[in-house]
Amino acid sequence: MNGPFVKGPIEQDNTDSIVLSVQGVTKRIKNRNIVDKLSFEIHKGEIVGLLGPNGAGKTTTIRMIVGLIGMTEGDVIVKGKSVRKDFAGAIAHVGGIIENPEFYPYMTGYDNLKQYQRMTEGITEERIRTVTKLVGLEDAMRKKVKAYSLGMRQRLGIAQALLHEPSILILDEPTNGLDPAGIREMRDYLKRIASEEGISVLVSSHLLSEMELMCSRVVVIQEGKLVTMRTLGASGISDASTGAEPERVHVTLRVDDAAAAKSRLARMEEIRILNVSEESNEITVSVRDAYIPRMVGALGSEGIGLYRIEEIKESLEDEFLKWTGGNRIA
């Protein structure tokens, strides 16, 4: 199955699989709603991105979920436990990295993890060893954290978040300040954690290309309000929002004679010609996936040379700008 076009959130029949449910959460500061009746849900094993321009309320939302900031209205339910009414019960299922994880620099990595071990019942030495191995910090555990690179600190951050075997990881701008290798490493960890351990992940970021590579779904907010929720397929973004019917793809053909190609393709009902560029001999069409071989065959039988076929994917960035109305900073 080539599934770039799944509509809406993944359909999950049983509500048991809902790990995190944000219910009409509002944060009001001086009569201004920083976050306004925001609701969304996260299922088991999903990686969900929280997207929005600067000042959209991403950080506030994340901090309300983990209880660092109080909610004015609404509630957050983690595995059936309310963050407002049963904070300790709810947060026990959450592992968090809020911005760059900060540790006590004068302590070793191990001492820092021990701090968090003592704060939750039932974390064994074995578990500490397991998570340090998972993030590959075994050799650095006896070093003081001030000697750690940002990437190492980020890995220690993942380790502390996983220590108490949470059901959901919540990360606020986790790739801030990381170099490309670090970002990629982070992404691989998260994907592995989600698929192997079935842990859900909520990650906020404004790095769209990052989100595109990492997330199975994005929640887009602006000025504290929900703008849209989108499921990202294996090869890009759902086309539903552009109005084209599903399964249709946009492809650009490079041919030796654009005019001839145009007149040939215009005779085929299934094909819609979107754009013809005579100078570069390119022609862009909208066509059903299944119809592409016939289209190629038709061009071949006319003696039109075909040099390239490229799929045009709307990037998440294009979509994002459409949803949020350009680069207006709220």
Binding site: V94, Y104, Y116
Partner: protein
């Protein structure tokens, strides 16, 4: 209860693992040693105190009392403020522990810290005094020493609690140390300036030094009793701690 003990362990380790942890203890030892040596070298032979008198003297407000309080203030100031400045508060508060419990653990660890400073100073004073002056009890006995030490502990406790509260309010270590020390220095000034008014009886500063009730002391206002001072101090403590806990629990950590 087990988990609260672990939280206190955590807070203690946060202080203990710093490289600067032993500096206050070293300072105390050096000061006491120096004072004892100077008294031994320069005082006339008939004016020699006993070891216990020396210890009681060291713990009076004009002796080491204020120095101990300053050291305690410096140690306390970072307890909450450093979590904010390091950014570790974010990871600290997203654990399955209530904020009230976390702050209580911090307060308890701070209390343990001032207790350890005072006990250390007591041990060093007794050692230095005993070695240099002997232990034959003359004017001051063990009881006097105990009471002086307790009065000093109460004095430190009050200022440490104020400092703790300021730390919660300001979230800045430097500002907290500054305000805490200024309060200690303002103490006698305020008491002096307001001594004409009746209200002075209820001011924290007037009551904070309990050593005035010990033998030979004169209370700042006539008619003040130890019980009265203890009640006033208790009311202030409840206010300070109440304000600290309410603020810490309500705070949005941005």
């Amino acid at each position: 209860m087990l988990s609260f003990g672990k939280l206190v362990t955590n807070e203690w380790l946060k202080m203990y693992k710093k490289r600067s942890f032993f500096i206050p203890y070293a300072a105390i030892a050096v000061v006491i040693g120096l004072v004892a040596y100077m008294m031994k070298s320069f005082s006339l032979s008939d004016g020699m105190p006993s070891g216990l008198e020396f210890t009681a003297g060291m713990f009076s407000k004009n002796g080491m009392g204020q120095l101990l309080t300053f050291l305690a203030i410096i140690g306390t100031a970072g307890s909450v403020a450093k979590e904010h400045s390091l950014g570790t508060i974010k990871l600290l508060l997203i654990r399955a522990q209530s904020r009230g419990k976390i702050l209580a653990a911090k307060y308890v660890s701070v209390l343990a810290y001032i207790l350890s400073l005072s006990l250390f100073a007591l041990a060093v004073s007794l050692l230095a005094g005993g070695l240099l002056f002997g232990f034959q009890a003359r004017e001051a006995g063990w009881e006097d020493v105990t009471l002086t030490v307790l009065a000093q502990l109460a004095y430190s406790l009050i200022y440490v609690t104020v400092t703790f509260m300021i730390g919660v309010f300001t979230r800045s270590t430097g500002a907290t140390i500054g305000v805490g020390m200024i309060l200690v220095l303002l103490e006698s000034l305020v008491v002096g300036l307001l001594s004409r008014y009746d209200i002075i009886k209820y001011v924290l500063f007037t009551n904070v030094d309990l050593s005035v009730y010990l033998e030979g002391g004169i209370p700042p206002v006539q008619g003040m009793t130890p019980a009265f001072s203890l009640i006033v101090l208790a009311v202030y403590m409840i206010l300070f701690l109440g304000a600290s806990f309410v603020t810490f629990k309500k705070r949005d950590v941005a």
